[in-house]
């Protein structure tokens, strides 16, 4: 059996999405900017995709810019907002952001920017008072993620955006993990900018969305033609944009049922593992998090070894251990939360999607405990059985 529980890394492209894309690799090859009918037909589909993407977050279609990925959207927000207010030299973000935000913000230091990285508590939660205290007249941008990719923890984006708004500072949120999994309404949440990645919501890799509220000053990130209303030059990636539109449509239509489905399976998996495997702990806030994500630490054993043993029985997950990150230190998210190194090295993230089944979850519940036991039998630190 093959069980894919790494949906925060990427998701399966939905068959309906593949189907929707197909004509645009073949007969519908027109350039949407062209005057003739070849182009006009295609433009209609781009417009539809824009409407569908907008509907998923209750935005206006004119506020949607298609990009190549979530990382591009994040970079566009940071660079675009800073260039729009060049006299302000301060960025506020958090210690647990995705590298697309964290590295892009830190990069700006070489141009004289100051970067404040807000800390999180042991459950991965933000202190809004720290945000309040950090904003100054010099602050050009606040960028905080909606949902954490490793733990699924949800930041209080509405409150954070209101704080920024009250001080007149533009607010960006990397909502790559949140969109499609939880309801998002930009009419009720005063974010100025928001990033979406296609392949996290069953569209293919290579397409993303940058949302910019009407009236938000953002300088273009890519210069060239007049596409995307002059905000993002370059001929539109038509098949992928159409695919993203279809994926957004499906996500919006099923958001409640998918929430229930993944949450039920996630909770079953999580409670069974915590019960069957001794010396385990859950990382991140138990309630304020995505319905599909569970991050469990197995003490005394190391994440890469667990992952490869899971892989050996067909189960795909991911880890915040040092060995899997390619560096020598465990994930920056685990460290920021103050998870002890001993537990961080053995942290495993299971992330589910609409395609997971009860049968698959039962299979993981059957396979995981003996793997932990086997690795612990090998570990010099594991308490002796019966001791």
């Amino acid at each position: 059996m093959e069980v894919y529980l790494d949906n925060n890394a990427t998701t399966r492209t939905a068959p309906e999405v593949v189907e929707a894309m197909a004509p645009f690799f073949g007969v519908e090859y027109g350039n949407p900017s062209s005057m003739h009918n070849f182009g006009g037909r295609v433009k209609k589909h781009i417009d539809e995709a824009r409407e569908k993407a907008a509907a998923l977050i209750n935005a206006d279609p004119a506020e949607i810019v298609f990009t190549s990925c979530g990382t591009e959207s994040d970079n566009m927000a940071i660079r675009g907002a800073l260039e729009a207010e060049p006299e302000k030299r301060h960025i506020i973000t958090s210690k647990v952001e995705h590298p697309a935000v964290l590295a892009a913000s830190r990069y700006m230091k070489r141009f004289g920017y100051r970067v404040t990285e807000l800390s999180v508590d042991g459950q991965g939660m933000l202190d809004l008072n720290e945000l309040r205290a950090s904003i100054s007249d010099d602050t050009a941008l606040v960028s905080l993620m909606w949902a954490n990719n490793e733990t699924g923890v949800l930041f209080p984006i509405k409150e954070a955006a209101e704080i920024a708004q009250s001080k007149g500072v533009p607010f960006h949120t990397d909502a790559v993990q949140a969109v499609g999994k939880i309801p998002i309404d930009v009419k009720k949440t005063p974010v100025n900018m928001l990033s979406i990645s296609g392949h996290k919501l069953h569209a293919p890799k290579g397409v993303g969305v940058f949302y910019a509220r009407r009236g938000t000053a953002v300088m273009p990130f890519m210069h060239g033609g007049h596409q995307e209303n002059g905000r993002r030059a370059g001929t539109e990636n038509v098949p992928y944009i159409v695919g993203l539109g279809r994926a957004a449509e499906i996500a919006a239509a099923n958001i409640d049922s998918e929430f229930e489905h993944t949450k039920k399976l996630r909770d079953r998996l999580e409670s069974a593992l915590l019960e069957k495997c001794p010396d385990t702990r859950l990382n991140g806030h138990t309630e304020l998090r995505l319905p599909n994500t569970s991050n469990v630490s197995f003490e005394f054993i190391e994440g890469e070894a667990i992952l490869l043993m899971l892989d050996n029985v067909g189960i795909a997950a991911s880890s915040g251990s040092a060995c899997t990150s390619g560096s020598l230190e465990p994930s920056h998210v685990m460290r920021a939360m103050g998870v002890p190194f001993t537990a961080a090295h053995g942290s495993i993230r299971f992330s589910l999607s609409r395609y997971n089944t009860q049968e698959e979850i039962e299979y993981v519940i059957e396979k995981m405990p003996p793997i932990a036991e086997r690795l612990r039998a090998m570990s010099p630190f594991a308490p002796k059985k019966g001791a």
Binding site: E304, L308, M309, S321, T324, L328, A377, M378
Partner: protein, 283 residues
């Protein structure tokens, strides 16, 4: 996913000799849980002083477990004298190679073996070998100067990054990078004085070749050209063909062609491979 050999996978999924020897003659433990990997190695000797049983307990990734398993297989039947000659490279070779970022797993194996042998010689008293005889350079991972020196000398390391791959030193806060650079320079100058003929690798992959060419240009060639107000830039490396651009004084120099052949090409042939051909970028 890491590019592990079949042998690494086999020793990881079916590790040999795991567990504890209650009445071990020698026990060595290195690493810690905070560091992300740790190995406890135990052995028993037979009447003739050969290792009749060796077992391990490892906390760590697949390559740490595989390295430990391989090590126990390698030392069985050996005398302590024979076993003590095993290097981390021998462990890696036994496994058909390890990714460079994982070489520290093989180093951990070698260190545990040495610790176990010293423990036996000390009468089986201490479980760990004290590291107090050498200065700790990397405080994040507790790596001493002696360990770094040995890794550089044994594995012909040239950069801080390589030292991190092999020993973990410098992989945390990075505060010891300049210290490590100093140790590399010191050990290498000792190494190079001692060598009568410079070591040239026998077989290179494309990536290794590209890296080595870059290193040699940085270390051997640029400093020399810069002394004369010149400089050089690598443009392309295609198999044995190395395309460069002469910069600074070199770009206007009438003898640049000689520099190209007698310095650049000669150095690259000496350090990389005999078949290197250096060309200047066509203008």
């Amino acid at each position: 996913m890491w590019d592990y050999t079949e042998k690494v996978k086999d020793h990881f999924l079916n590790p040999r000799n795991t567990g504890v020897i209650e009445d071990a003659h020698g026990v060595g433990q290195v690493g810690s849980m905070a560091c992300g990997d740790a190995l406890k190695l135990m052995f028993r000797l037979d009447a003739e002083g050969r290792i009749e049983d060796a077992r391990f307990q490892t906390f760590g990734c697949a390559s740490a477990i595989a390295s430990s398993s391989a090590l126990t297989e390698m030392i069985k039947g050996k005398t302590l004298e024979e076993a003590s000659t095993i290097t981390n490279q021998d462990i890696a070779d036994y496994l058909g190679g390890l990714p460079e970022q994982k070489m520290h797993c093989s180093v951990m194996g070698m260190e545990a073996l040495q610790a176990a042998i010293e423990n036996y010689k000390a009468g089986g008293e201490a479980g760990n070998v004290e590291k107090t005889d050498s200065r700790v350079v990397c405080s994040c991972f507790g790596v001493t100067e002696k360990e770094i020196e040995r890794a550089i000398a044994d594995n012909d390391l040239r950069t801080v990054e390589q030292v991190t791959h092999y020993t973990k030193a410098g992989g945390g806060c990075g505060g010891c990078h300049s210290d490590i650079e100093g140790i590399i320079a010191r050990v290498r100058s000792g190494l190079e004085q001692g060598e009568t003929t410079r070591k040239r690798p026998t077989k290179l992959t494309n990536i290794q070749r590209i890296k080595l060419v870059e290193e040699v240009v940085e270390r051997e060639i640029r400093p020399q050209l810069k002394r004369d107000g010149g400089d050089i830039e690598l443009v392309d490396i295609d198999g044995p063909r190395v395309v460069v651009a002469m910069r600074g004084a070199c770009s206007k120099c009438s003898v640049a062609q000689f520099t190209l052949r007698d310095v650049v090409e000669a150095k690259l042939r000496e350090f990389v491979s005999e078949d290197i051909v250096v060309e200047e970028e066509s203008k």
